[in-house]
Symmetry: D3
Subunit: 173 residues, 6 copies
Amino acid sequence: MVLKRALYVGRFQPFHLGHLAALKHILSNHSEAIIAIGSAQHSHTIDNPFTLGERIEMIFMTLKYEKLYDRVIITSVPDVEKHYLWVDLVIQNSPEFNVVYSNEFLTRLLFMERNFEVRNIPFFDRDRYEATKIRQLMANDKDWVELVPKPVADYILSKKLDLRVKRIFNRNV
Amino acid sequence: MVLKRALYVGRFQPFHLGHLAALKHILSNHSEAIIAIGSAQHSHTIDNPFTLGERIEMIFMTLKYEKLYDRVIITSVPDVEKHYLWVDLVIQNSPEFNVVYSNEFLTRLLFMERNFEVRNIPFFDRDRYEATKIRQLMANDKDWVELVPKPVADYILSKKLDLRVKRIFNRNV
Amino acid sequence: MVLKRALYVGRFQPFHLGHLAALKHILSNHSEAIIAIGSAQHSHTIDNPFTLGERIEMIFMTLKYEKLYDRVIITSVPDVEKHYLWVDLVIQNSPEFNVVYSNEFLTRLLFMERNFEVRNIPFFDRDRYEATKIRQLMANDKDWVELVPKPVADYILSKKLDLRVKRIFNRNV
Amino acid sequence: MVLKRALYVGRFQPFHLGHLAALKHILSNHSEAIIAIGSAQHSHTIDNPFTLGERIEMIFMTLKYEKLYDRVIITSVPDVEKHYLWVDLVIQNSPEFNVVYSNEFLTRLLFMERNFEVRNIPFFDRDRYEATKIRQLMANDKDWVELVPKPVADYILSKKLDLRVKRIFNRNV
Amino acid sequence: MVLKRALYVGRFQPFHLGHLAALKHILSNHSEAIIAIGSAQHSHTIDNPFTLGERIEMIFMTLKYEKLYDRVIITSVPDVEKHYLWVDLVIQNSPEFNVVYSNEFLTRLLFMERNFEVRNIPFFDRDRYEATKIRQLMANDKDWVELVPKPVADYILSKKLDLRVKRIFNRNV
Amino acid sequence: MVLKRALYVGRFQPFHLGHLAALKHILSNHSEAIIAIGSAQHSHTIDNPFTLGERIEMIFMTLKYEKLYDRVIITSVPDVEKHYLWVDLVIQNSPEFNVVYSNEFLTRLLFMERNFEVRNIPFFDRDRYEATKIRQLMANDKDWVELVPKPVADYILSKKLDLRVKRIFNRNV
């Protein structure tokens, strides 16, 4: 744990067990991690069904369940049209950090051009744990519950957010 | 602790011991609290010297120091020109809540018009613990350190953010 | 006519006889209707050739021609990136209403999540009266005049707006 | 009635009998008038307590009461930071017009620079009929009812919007 | 050289020898030209890899190299959602002009509707000098240097901006 | 002339002989200068009467008159609510630079926090050459012509922009 704080950027639609494994991997190398929820302004679309507040709630509940709350800070960043400014927006909205974890191309490019150290996130059984796939399972009434942390599943089911995902995929309500 | 989650709205420029006392008061009545950092877009002004990221960092460090991290969720909300939409923006950016704590007039009015329960925050020695006054003390090189939680003082001093406040007040750099 | 006021959301590019039939259907069930012109900010594109002002003028002229002016209020709403806030924007921009008429999926989903009663609009000979098709007829110099209310046809012809549609489709000017 | 359509720009916070007299004056010179509700985005402030939707409702109800609905079109325009573009925004959001009525300096300057004919609105007993004064009367529980059209008074009272004005003035809720 | 000033609108991603030939053509008909850099807010995408500042620098260096600086003014215009307002935004951001040169459909349509004289730009060996093709050559490590003015090539190579283009095309960094 | 390029930030409402002297001072120390026109979005106010395009035209005409066009690049930057991002916006909109000249407090603070070298601009007979004062002279029909470069005076007089300033000050048109 040489480096102090790492930034972990994602959309977390929803936060699944692959994300949790990545977070634990990051925390094995850093004393603290910042989860920066990207595309913060979006919701109610196929790619971004959940609001920012819903995503914060799901992640916080998972941190609580996993007792990681004392080492993880949650923040958020909207997409912006001016890509050049996006890195600065992340910095404005986040506690200080010195390493960036992301597999997303544009995030990596923009941070590298600003001389940040950027690292890949190792995938954890990506065939299973992939948000796009999980949303499709929800839409098709197939089993997705075991692919997300228990508090995430409980939250989605109690709020019937899987029904929202289904409606968005079918464009029918 | 009948009610589940309370929203505590403030600007936290900076988070001081009065805010901490208010938070503890709220947590004595609710199992969890959401700290919603308002005026999120502002920084480098007399009223809002600290960035959102700096404020998140100061609050998180205090929650850690006070071991309140498992009961407090941090979120943020910018000021918006369309006041009517502000409540909805808070809802979009926050986990679910059912009571709002605020002494700020417009926050109270807007939430009451939407039929939320709105409660006053009891002040804790407001003569001492008041953010405007603490910023003035910083600007005048007077003692402010004992008015904020220890992690906040440490953070401001280590980043020399008190120097920024002084520069902004003097309009001189 | 039990319910007082209904909201009728559409883009009205342009307002055609199918829209007029829908409006009359709504007015048979409600004492007043609000026509909310959506995608208000757009113009000069294949899907949205007419400006907001042009659409307001065409609808007002039709209301006048049909003597419906005392029961129909026109308002407008831009598309917004934050879908969650769109319903609130409609509410801010509109007189009070208690039923929403729309066949558009996202409009329906967003209003239903806020517990509004949402109703389908019965289609009136949709093979003929469909805005996309009418814009294509304009672009191809085929007959579209009889598919819209007389004041709409007069307006489009007098302003040569059918020429604009043709130019936009051909991307040639 | 030589000229066809006149634009009447105002904030209408609220629409009072002076506004109605001005509208009738305009309609004596023009066959139709457009009421452009300015500062459309604002509400819940001392100068702009009512939302756009509330203002549209009050004006429409008055037009209905006065049987002016067939000659008056309601539209709206937000304030914009880029003053140079404001005239174009009015044009985009409005049916065609050829004369502008306004006593507001910046509105007059901007339209005159674009070569529009701009006319003053004669005041009608301005000592009595002035929106700022009417809002102060509401705030101080004094009689304002006779200064606005009957449908406006009915609407404000039924929605208790005078209470909102009072709360905003007293900054107390 | 009857007409005084011409507006030349483009994205200049990057400014190439075809653009330079077009500029010289315009300057043979007009005493001065305004280069309006469009899509000013975009960068780091396949179609718009370079920032506004980078594009200004490349164009200024070319003007200097060609000794055209005393007859060419550089300005910039972002894309805007409200197409109707785009012409006005160009006017606000530009010195006065009376002819518009563009081959881009929407630019031509919008300026023609505002009664500007709009002219086509003759293409100069468009098979060779086309920005899309030049970006593809960069991405594929093929020779692009001779297709742009020498100062543009020098700038791109010294800043390794061709590497950025390659990374964006390959979505790999 | 050790350092290559300097950034000179101002509002230039209008560009006067003090600005020109400052520019020449900067060019005595640097081979090139960037004039960054701030508050780019504003016009038609007491502090910012001229549009961006008008300011670009006045500055370009002066550069031409002074034969400084080969060493000075003009760019523009709007004010933004998020002060933290302003420096990045300047960088996005400007060719590369390594020193910043400004006497404006916030500009200086924000660039210093990003580790730029920031220098004061020596004032040149500030009692005479001060934009606020020049605008007041215009408003009061007093002599201002000799305080600005000849091309600026010619431009303002030919466009009657001094009349606009007078109208804005008197709030009367």
